[in-house]
Amino acid sequence: MSNNYKERIGRLRNHMVTKPSVSVIRGKAWTDSYKETEGREPFFRQALALKKTLETVPVLLDDDELLAGRITEFWRGSMLLPEINIQFLETEMDDIAVRPRCTFEPIPGDRQKVVWEMLDYWRDKNLHMMWQNKLPAYMLEHEYSGLIGGATFCDNGHYLTHVSADYPKLLRVGLDGIRKEIEDEIAKLDLRVPEDFEKLQFLNAALISNRAAADFSLRYSKLASEQAEQTNDPVRKEELLELSRICAKVPMRPANTFYEAIQSIVTAWTVINIEGQGNGLCFGRVDQYLYPYYKKEKAAGTLTDDFAVALIAMLYIKTNGVVNVYNRFTSNIFTGWPQTMNVNVGGIDKNGRDAVNELSYLFVEADMDVRLTQNDIVVRVETKTPSSFVIRCIEVAKALRGKVKFMSDNTILQQLMHDGYKLDDARDYVITGCSTVNVPGRSLDDPGALLNMPLLLEMALNDGKRRRDGAQLGPHTGDARTFKSYDDIMEAFRIQCETLFRIAVPMRSSDRFMYGKYRPVLFHSCLFTGPIQKGRDMWDDGSRYGRLSFSPSGVPNVGDSLAAIKKVVFEDGALTMNGLIDALEANFEGHEKALKLLSDAPKYGNDIDYVDYIVDDVLMMCVDIITPMMCAGKAKATVSPAALSANVSLGLDVSALPDGRKAFLPLAEGGVSPYQGRNVSGPVATYRSVAKLDHVKLTNGSIFNMRFSPKDLDSVQKIKKFEQMLRMFLEEGGFFVQYNIVDTETLRAAQKNPEQYKDLLVRVATYSAYFVELGEDLQEDIINRLAQEVS
């Protein structure tokens, strides 16, 4: 980027390359407010708490900043949401500064005192505790059983707020327009109708939140004008006066300029975070809804690309200021603070036309000078999408070591239609978080639990017991030594899965229920279609569409294992069931022959139908069990294979597998990526294996990571070929792919001298993280995968 703002952007982004701190201001204000509203209903308490907090949190503007809105007083910090659950700090207050993953700056004594006050108040009334009290014991025992990773009730946040608010509407009508909508709805109420009486409570509280957000913006307007008075720099003075004017105008009123539009979004986004922060808050289709402002100003000569890119870069940098302090257990699942604040670009518009425009390019370019972890770029690719755009995105992915997600419009439209979305809504989809398909302002599609599939297979081969410790986690499905056919194994496996899924689905669904009923987010809800009309929180059946997806993890291991059993035991007769179980029990020690036979069986990722279809069979079995179930807030249960970074921690529970994987090693990463090092037949074979899965039925997405060496992209021709393969994969039935483009030498060097590689980005699961922050075992896993693929 040849940009006048390059140095400022450089300074701002460098503030983010630092260990995050814990801020107590939001948590304290929220707690204080709750103490003042004892006895009132949740709508009112939440709205008042937001109001008090927005009045209390410090407003800060750095000399380099052009956008207003900070989440904490730190450049990179975590708020506390004690009303959800921060009780883990009772035992982990000091641990968060020394644990192997996701470490924070130590919380100093005075702040610890404030935290203890919160802990004392919330001990018996935090949402997690309320939830635990509602669950039957047979469900609760799975909170940390290792079978349902990430299904546990979230720490310190609205679990995964993987949604995209109706920012286009905010820009069109402003908070004032939304307030009018609420007032109109109140005017229509007939308070003799009991439902309307309840609606009134929601709508009144919504008005409080709406006003609080406007006042928050005015605080920034005031701050900017005060700073303008104090500065001696005439240029900065001009900037501050403009920012002050803008913050006095938006988000309250409609935006008229590109700058106003971006600031309006930033303010709304900041408030949404403070109200109920969670991962995956998405900015939506930025290149579409911001384009009219851009185009108008470009034509009028009032906006330069330099300035537009600077604002976009500053928006990206801002998202990196938010992290979320989790407990140690969860930090293994969401290693590297994946806030995944996506922007979506490209794809088609609601008329099915190519939607790529100049802004699509600018949003991709802008990240070249940012290169941080939290802001993800999602590129929608449709058959009509110009190659020049896809190629530019590949070049940026290469430069950023992979930080771009490529999505198939063709597959995703089929998925959404399959789940009953209207075509116009479907065409407007975005990807939120890692790989969740959502419609901005209209759907609440959220990921749910990780399901440890290899452990379920292990239980099917061990009468429902976990081999590691003999714990009876599932039903008795018989002694596998007596199984006579492949069908016997599949049946035992199906029973193990069905039993667990029937626990996992309501368990996670109840979590969504808790948010909707007891911790409504009124400000955020009013940026969706539905909640105002229904008078209900967005998570409580407020929106037009809702899905909650369940993520089978390690399915490639299960598919490889079942294929190995089918071939070696039941087709070739080279191994008996006794021999197989003996080998698994011994972790293959002294059973090298069995290990060899099993390892030589066909492996997923090499375009071999035999095993690829078994992987698909396992996924479709999950679909058949899970999708008929309904979740709280009338959300549909769906299936989206994923493992996040938990492929390492889930693996610690799984003993030797029939695919030849030895005990406690990591599971397959991603969700549908072939097991590390087993795809040895070239990229086309890998693409074909993955595209063969029935992605249309995996309706909330799946995760597929591929690794390439920078050498594979070192010429124009190779990049074109890369694009050709990528597009074929997306057109052939693939859903999503992202790349890790690094070499092992760099990673080794970073391990040795972490200080010098603090900003080395790598892909973990579907998000980017700083390599040096990952912890040694995950670092090793990444290096090993890479080494195998390059050799």
Binding site: K596, S599, G682, K718, K721, F722, M725
Partner: protein
């Protein structure tokens, strides 16, 4: 050739890469046939030289169990003494029967290749057709594909019928009539030129370059596309004089679309070890990057479309 004949033909294949970006135009599926008439000192696919199956022994993977010792009918395997025992293979006695590979449970002993019929190989290629796009296709290389002239010709013809672009990656030492037919029929030929000085060529590759250059001119006369590949080998092909002569030769050819300069590399070291062969002495050398660039300059100045790497 009749379809039925093609079914029966088979060949030893030592590698298939689905999605190569370096073996011709576009995205390609590259197949490597085992067996080559040349014995280049710098060979980067030594497992592709012999026309028969060969035992691959990866000492690092050997766990010292000793199962292979009694399994070998030729008594060619013994164990090194001591705690970290490893299998030791007497390659003089070994006849590559592969019986020991079945007894090796850690995969340290295995065959370098697998037998494919034309139809089996075709079905591996056909699957990838969607990824080939407008200019990609199959590249048949090795080793030297024309050592299996009937097989290779049948494969080329079968691909052609399926509208799959065919490339032949050849050393040019083609001696049979059917082999020449392969050279004629392939849509694209990747043609190795390993130096123009006849004596140096014999020293480096074991054969004269006379036939190779004759065949190159013949293919060129057909007006069908050629990509020339020039390995840069220290002491063999990298002299200023040789480079200048190669540039001059290529300038006079009409069908050459590009020249790929392939600097010497050592990625094949592990394969020499797995074959139990001594490392060729040229492996001691490194090729400086600055030299690559200056060689490239020579071709570009002569108006030839050239690049470093495939």
């Amino acid at each position: 050739m009749k379809e039925n004949d093609a079914v029966g033909l088979s060949s030893l294949i030592f590698n298939i890469v689905h999605g190569s970006t370096v073996d011709g135009w576009g995205v390609r599926t590259t197949v490597f046939l085992k067996g080559c008439p040349l014995r280049c000192l710098w060979c980067c696919n030594p497992e592709g030289q012999k026309k028969y199956a060969e035992l691959k022994y990866t000492a690092d993977d050997c766990n010292g169990c000793g199962n292979c010792v009694p399994a070998c009918p030729k008594k060619a395997i013994s164990m090194t003494p001591g705690r970290d025992a490893k299998a030791l293979i007497d390659r003089e006695l070994c006849d590559n029967c592969m019986i020991c590979a079945d007894s090796c449970y850690v995969g340290a002993l295995a065959s370098f290749s697998k037998q494919y019929t034309v139809n089996e190989l075709f079905s591996e290629i056909e699957r990838d057709q969607g990824y080939f796009g407008e200019d990609g296709g199959v590249t048949v290389g090795g080793g030297e594909a024309t050592l299996y002239p009937d097989f290779t010709l049948a494969l080329i013809e079968k691909c052609r019928k399926a509208y799959i672009h065919t490339a032949l990656d050849t050393c040019g030492y083609v001696t049979t009539e059917t082999g020449m037919k392969c050279l004629e029929e392939a849509d694209l030929v990747l043609y190795d030129v390993k130096g123009l000085d006849p004596d140096t060529h014999v020293r480096g590759t074991g054969v004269s370059n006379e036939l190779i250059l004759k065949n190159l001119r013949y293919r060129d006369s057909l007006g069908k596309e050629i990509i020339i590949r020039l390995p840069l080998i220290p002491g063999y092909t990298d002299s200023r004089e040789n480079i200048a002569r190669e540039a001059e030769l290529i300038s006079g050819l009409k069908s050459v679309k590009r020249v790929d300069i392939i600097p010497f590399h050592k990625y094949a070291e592990i394969k020499y070890r797995q074959l139990g062969w001594p490392l060729p002495y040229v492996f001691g050398e490194d090729f400086p990057e600055a030299r690559e660039k200056s060689v490239l300059e020579v071709f570009l100045k002569a108006g030839i479309n050239a690049q470093i790497g495939g």
